[in-house]
Amino acid sequence: MGPPPEIAAQEAAEAKPVDFNRGDHAWMLVSCALVLLMTGPGLAMFYGGLVRKKNVLSVMMQCIYLMAIMTLIWAIYGYSLAFGPGPDNFLGELIGDGSYLFMQNVQTYIDSKQGFVVPMAGDIPRLTHMLFQGMFFIITPALIVGAFAERMKFKAMVLFMVIWGTVVYCPLAHWVWGGGLLQAGESPWPILGALDFAGGTVVHISSGISALVCAVLIGKRLGYGSEPMPPHNLTYTCIGACLLWFGWFGFNAGSALAADGIAASAFAATHFSAAAGAFAWATIEWTLRGKPTVLGACSGAVAGLVCITPAAGHVHMMPAVLMGLLAGIFCYCACTTLKNRFGYDDSLDVFGIHGVGGTLGAILTGVFATREVWDIHNGQPLGLIEGGTQMIPQILAVLITWGYAIVCTYIILKLLDAVVGLRVEQQEEIQGLDLSQHGEEGYIFL
């Protein structure tokens, strides 16, 4: 005997708009929250612990303020620019359109013919897709914060991020994920069709290389190289790194946009690469300097996570381990030798870890990508190892992303420097940004 007729009718009415896969959708909602956790408290603590104590609040504020402001931009026009289908010509390869302005056609609505409509993005509601991608729109600029930490004017930081998010992130996301010119299977030029599973180019290369431009243009911190500037609280940094590792499962496995086998593979690859990165970095220190450090293990884990990001849903497990090991080695060299050689003050090593790790990951994706994980080209081999030609688009995508991010970041910073000035006054920098920019102190002991 079934339910009474009136209840059955009610169930039918409710069930009608919800005809998507609830398992996939549940995983995606969880992933959204996991990726947000990476910025706050993950990145806020990771960065907060690395600066001097007079600046701890300033980096935490930059993270939390970006959570707010990037979300608002995303809701008003960011998602539409990045993921709007765009016109059916070359312009549509470059940028989205106004289809989703103010969340129209993203949120549910009632149509005179179709009735109640839940706009979909693949197998999940478009609202969830928008939220998930919106979390990436928060963490990418938040990563850059580490490059100019302890010396940038808050006002200049806000303006920079608003403009950078609009002119760098949104187009890049469109090129790689929104059906634009760098997306494998979508690009009209297959030679540009790169594999970027969860944001090696869009998130890590773009933020890492922009961070380097910021560090160079804004200049070194007062006393850099002559005064000691050790991290003020590595316990925060360690907690932050662990939260990043945890949240990264949403970032990478969530990028499958489903709770399927690719998500499982991405989840495991992410975990293995992080472990290998932490192991590699700590081992190098142990060998060369005599002691493995906490900061080294944390940095190595993040390097491994960054490196596997573009490859997460494309590679098998042992390549993932190898990618993590290589990320630990390359990023260690970038943060020590490379930075000292050129003398730039990338304060929290955003370029050394995200720029270098992201570039390494994008290229290694071209080596190790296999159709056995995700047969994205209908049986065509992918990476070098299985005889594919994916390496060429990977390298081209890296070059395009580097070039675009460098040029745009340089122009934005030059403009802002002329209009509002990038750097705080010398006195304010000595006093610390917590007091000079926010009128607060991180630690008050009575």
Binding site: P228, P230, E285, T293, C335, T336, T337
Partner: protein, 112 residues
């Protein structure tokens, strides 16, 4: 009256306090301090950048006693704080002109 100040190792604080209490000393002040002597500092390394840390954390005990007790207090501190390794710290003894107990207004040795 004498003021005895001793800069000692953190982990010796409890031993020194107990030893002084056994000698009938019933008041002292303790501060966290940093400094260096023969022990010198150490180096710390953060992402490959080495920093020399010159100031080593220590604990400073201050005890004020009648002149007659001063030598016994110094001996007690030395006995209880010694490990024999570089970095055990130092004891400083100085004359003290006046002490006042705020609650009662008593002065001199009565206020100790």
């Amino acid at each position: 009256m004498k003021k005895v100040e001793a800069v000692i190792r953190h982990f010796k604080l409890e031993d020194v306090k107990n030893a002084l209490t056994e000698q009938g000393i019933h008041g002292m002040t303790v501060t966290e301090v940093r400094g260096f002597g023969r022990q010198k500092g150490h180096t710390e390394m953060y992402r490959g950048t080495e920093y020399a840390v010159d100031f080593v954390p220590k604990v400073k005990i201050e005890v004020v006693v009648a002149d007659a007790l001063a030598q016994r207090v110094v001996d007690t501190i030395i006995r209880s704080a010694q490990t024999g390794q570089i970095g055990d710290g130092k004891v400083f003894v100085s004359d003290l002109s006046e002490v006042v107990r705020i609650r009662t207004g008593e002065t001199g040795e009565d206020a100790l």
